[in-house]
Chain length 173, copies 2
């Protein structure tokens, strides 16, 4: 068994910006590049991952590239101390998210979808207040097109390896 | 401009083994998962990477999955202090490597191809001697099929993000 997840990596430009914060404020900094999670980690066997990949190839063909617009810094407080770039929940993104949570992919998600790119987590309450205040002031205003997503699995050390990339849209096939 | 490279990631099992050594002996541990380099880093623009990806899609179709056999621990000393799992240089692997170094991909490689998975580097000479002795005793004997490779680019912090995955062989298309 291993854990797999599905993410989109934004452009190098947005990843570099996110990493400039993560380096100081996110202990997961070295485990995975900055990302927009499309499906939270789920347990699966080698064989199941192969089957999931086959299904994802079809799913990706049926969905078009979408606009990722990061427009403010927000926080999940008081649920947890995660600070993130809030990403516009467009119909295209929501539709893709839903398509990755049908019965064949294990069913509905545990939580409602709040598209985001994490830039700080596991801070103490005091740290969180300080960092959130300064990051919120810095803000973010970025827009780009996402034309692919990735299926990843987790290694024993907690880091993530890409298993496969899926391009969105029929033109790419 | 950014740097891109082409690698194959071995199975989780071999990555976990490699990481058990890299954690202690490789300062690049957190920058990239354990990998077999197929093409060393090269500078390219966004547009060039898109073109390279298109070409790689064709190249990957024209080559079949290959056997990765890691059969001993070796070192590049005295050239440098890199310790690695030596990977059998099969005709299939060599052919793929050559296909990634034709004129359309920037031409011949600077060095002859020694397929390997790095597990230790940047050690002092004394450390290198000690670590090499103990890893060589531990040895490695692993065989698996590699059916895909990945195009990656490097972020400002030195870490690598996967741009796209390419499956080897026509059946996968």
């Amino acid at each position: 068994m291993m854990k797999y997840g599905i993410v989109a990596f934004p452009s190098k430009k947005l990843q570099d910006l996110a990493n400039s914060y993560r380096k100081r404020y996110d202990p997961h900094y070295s485990l995975i590049p900055p990302h927009l999670t499309l499906k939270n980690p789920v347990e699966a066997t080698d064989e199941e991952i192969r089957q999931i990949a086959e299904k994802l190839a079809k799913t990706s063909e049926q969905h078009e590239p979408f606009t990722l617009r990061a427009y403010k810094i927000s926080s999940f407080q008081p649920v947890n101390n995660v600070i993130y770039m809030k990403v516009d929940n467009t119909p295209e993104l929501l539709t893709l998210h839903n398509a990755l949570h049908t019965e064949e992919f294990g069913g509905a998600p545990e939580f409602s979808f709040v598209p985001h790119i994490t830039i700080a987590q596991k801070l103490s309450d005091d740290e969180h207040s300080d960092v959130y205040e300064s990051l919120r002031m810095a803000g973010v205003n970025h827009e780009e097109t996402i034309d692919r997503f990735h299926l990843l699995y987790q290694l024993e050390n907690g880091s993530w390896t890409v298993y496969e990339t899926f391009r969105l849209g029929k033109e790419s096939q």
